[in-house]
Symmetry: C2
């Protein structure tokens, strides 16, 4: 089956637009999504940006608020301007890695994204993560324990280093057969590329 | 008739994608395009960026080269990576203002954009501008003389100040009824907004 890597951070508002839509769109195109959480803040800092460009450049940040409201309206997604931006999400990102192994990362990611961008809740805490896991019928205690092992913490750092090695500089980013697509606005192109690559290889 | 303002600079590669497509798309939606040349470099400098973000941030610039090739392929537009970027275009921008008055700005803009982004030619000189005007059957000498009057030079500065007053921070930008849309990726949304505003007012 054709695959598309979806690189995201729970703190990234444009990642929210993709996280909520990608599985349905990928199903239509018979593409399998490989969810790749990585620490966008680490990537930004290495590029010399102390925080999100939307904070560093207020004029662009103000525009982004309006753009997000319009985009969510277009896609039929709920949206509430987060009181804190960008929200840290270290614990949810570590948990998401476990979810990637165990097959529940997509619904978990949608739940965390909804908390951040539709419910304006902080997500980098045990309560939010446990609530999301319990909502999926999962054993929150066991999963969080797994997420906090040194091995799993190291994995998230390594995955972030891999993002840098792939020349990622923002989120969401999509990778299909070596081609990098940046931004929710390229989700359709990325899926088409992934589906096309599959057709060629069949 | 519904209108949409199209703010652009001949040096902006993503403005190229919009300049080549906007008139045909606008006709379909019965929207009139108001072409608004402004000096993007002046706006960037006022925001603290000495040149294009695609130059300041090499990793994003490298990506943009690949993205432009793919986008042009998608839209069926010719593309040659410019040897100089961003190209200055002060004379063509001044001439474009005259074209806005006289009704030939759209084909003139497409010609200048093609020289820059499909033919990899410098455009901020009398030869390039005269060739474009002659190709449209226009009197290049008379038009350039008009473009170089103090009044017309002042007009371009004022239009750039207007762009700043409207909180523009990049190009292309689109304005419909007070709503700002940034980037070629928002052209369809901007046209839909303009067409919708028209329907409401009828």
């Amino acid at each position: 089956m054709a695959t598309l890597e979806f690189w995201f951070d729970f703190g990234s508002n444009y990642s929210y637009l993709s996280a909520m839509r990608i599985e349905a769109l990928a199903r239509e195109k018979k593409v399998q999504v490989i969810w790749k959480p990585f620490l966008l803040g680490v990537v930004f800092k290495a590029l010399g940006w102390e925080t999100s460009p939307f904070v560093l450049q207020k004029i662009k940040g103000d525009y982004t608020c309006r753009d997000m409201a319009r985009q969510c309206d277009k896609y039929g997604l709920p949206w509430r301007q987060p009181a804190a931006f960008p929200r840290t999400a270290l614990l949810p990102m570590r948990v998401a890695l476990v979810g990637a192994d165990q097959g529940w990362i997509a619904p978990f990611a949608r739940r965390m994204m909804t908390m951040n961008f539709a419910e304006d809740r902080d997500i980098d805490n045990l309560e939010a993560v446990s609530e999301a896991l319990a909502g999926l019928g999962l054993d929150a205690g066991a999963i969080v324990a797994l997420a906090l092992t040194p091995d799993n913490k190291l994995r998230l750092r390594r995955q972030t280093q891999q993002a840098q090695a792939l020349h990622l500089f923002g989120a969401p980013s999509f990778l299909s057969g070596g081609e990098l697509f940046w931004g929710n606005d390229r989700l359709d192109d990325a899926l088409a590329h992934a589906a096309g690559a599959r057709s060629l290889s069949m």
